[in-house]
Symmetry: C2
Subunit: 226 residues, 2 copies
């Protein structure tokens, strides 16, 4: 996906195998000074490499039908949260991550950095209409679960009942407002992560980690032993 790579002299040496792989792929390699790289990067201490990449998002219709885990971000505005959920979804084995509604641009630099490369590992989808995404995922045979701090279903109870073993799409709303009510109602269940202490709620990225890993564990338990 790299179109052009800018690298400082130090980075050319330090990341030589990576630089070679990029050059072998046909991308353009542009050596630059530390000062020039500093103006390209928007971190304070850049690592000496800046790559221009093509966009990697795909249409939802190109996502394979037989997936087991999908994460859908609905109106998630914070790029750090969105990128962290993308990274966590990848780690939990999600095939696709959908940025729906007015969610942050997945190519926002903070989102890209928080994703720690997972942007390139999953099928990344941008979709304006979250309700249409839900309908499409359900038509593909996925159980749609809305993460909702006030949901009527307890995550542990669903796990105990074996209800997380099905192919599942999780919907996550914004930290400030949660999911739009009409969307949460359209899901197969509104699911809360149990709160055992006195915290009012979990933050978005933590709740998503617990939900996605609960599904991953249920899928793993369902697998025949290797």
């Amino acid at each position: 996906v790299v179109l052009e790579l800018f690298a400082t002299p130090a980075a050319l040496t330090r990341y030589a195998p990576l630089v070679r792989a990029v050059r072998d792929s046909g991308a353009r390699l542009s050596p630059v000074t530390d000062e020039a790289l500093g103006t390209l990067a928007d971190t304070v201490n850049p690592q000496g490499l800046v790559a221009v990449c093509r966009h990697v998002d795909v249409d939802l219709d190109t996502v394979p039908a037989h997936v087991r885990l999908v994460a859908v971000l609905v109106e998630v505005r914070d790029p750090g949260n969105a990128g962290t959920v993308l990274r966590t979804a990848d780690a939990a084995g999600a095939t696709a991550v959908v940025f729906a509604g007015a969610s942050v641009d997945p190519y926002n630099p903070k989102c890209v950095r928080a994703s720690a490369g997972s942007l390139f590992h999953v099928a990344l989808v941008r979709a304006g209409d979250a309700a249409a995404v839900l309908a499409r995922l359900r038509a593909a045979g996925l159980r749609v679960l809305a993460a909702d701090a006030h949901g009527s279903a307890d995550l542990d109870d669903l796990a105990d009942a074996g209800a997380l073993a099905a192919p599942t799409a999780w919907l996550f709303g914004s930290e400030a407002h949660g999911l739009p009510d009409v969307l949460a109602e359209a899901a197969d269940a509104r699911v809360r992560v149990p709160i055992h202490g006195r915290a009012e709620s979990l933050n978005l990225a933590a709740a998503a980690a617990v939900c996605l890993y609960a599904s991953a564990r249920a899928h793993r338990l369902k697998e025949p032993p290797a």
Copy 2:
């Protein structure tokens, strides 16, 4: 814990019950202008209230012996991560959260905000010597687990084996460097969260959420039915 509360005219009205509770507790109430409050708060859009609170941390020796879940942050420098783990630990039912070694000051404003009040819900401990904390927690009968992306024990396997049902203290290291090796070796197990996709790792707050909730679930399963 509030010693003095500064409030704008709008906040005095909007949060009247809270303001009354603070005044009834004997704290000093100081009405201020929006401008004055703006200089007290370090957020861009303050909510109109700033409270001066006493420090709430306690000595590790005052933490009750019969606790089931403790989180220990070791050399965690990022205040947002530390505050999020504090909030998640509270939600998962942890009794105490220890800021050990050269971890960030728990009273760092970003940490306080990320904790979303959980700073006041758990026994907060500051301790310089992480190894001494480990020894003290083990002496109190807790199983000490080191969260380690390269750990030899798989979190799901421990859960399957019932090994998470014991009272547990989780050690979490910095996102950049993980736990100091000597400390991880001193734990009862080095535990990795399984990675099902292509992500190299989880971020600290997500890994902590998965670990702490795995313990919470094991503790809940062990409980006799209500």
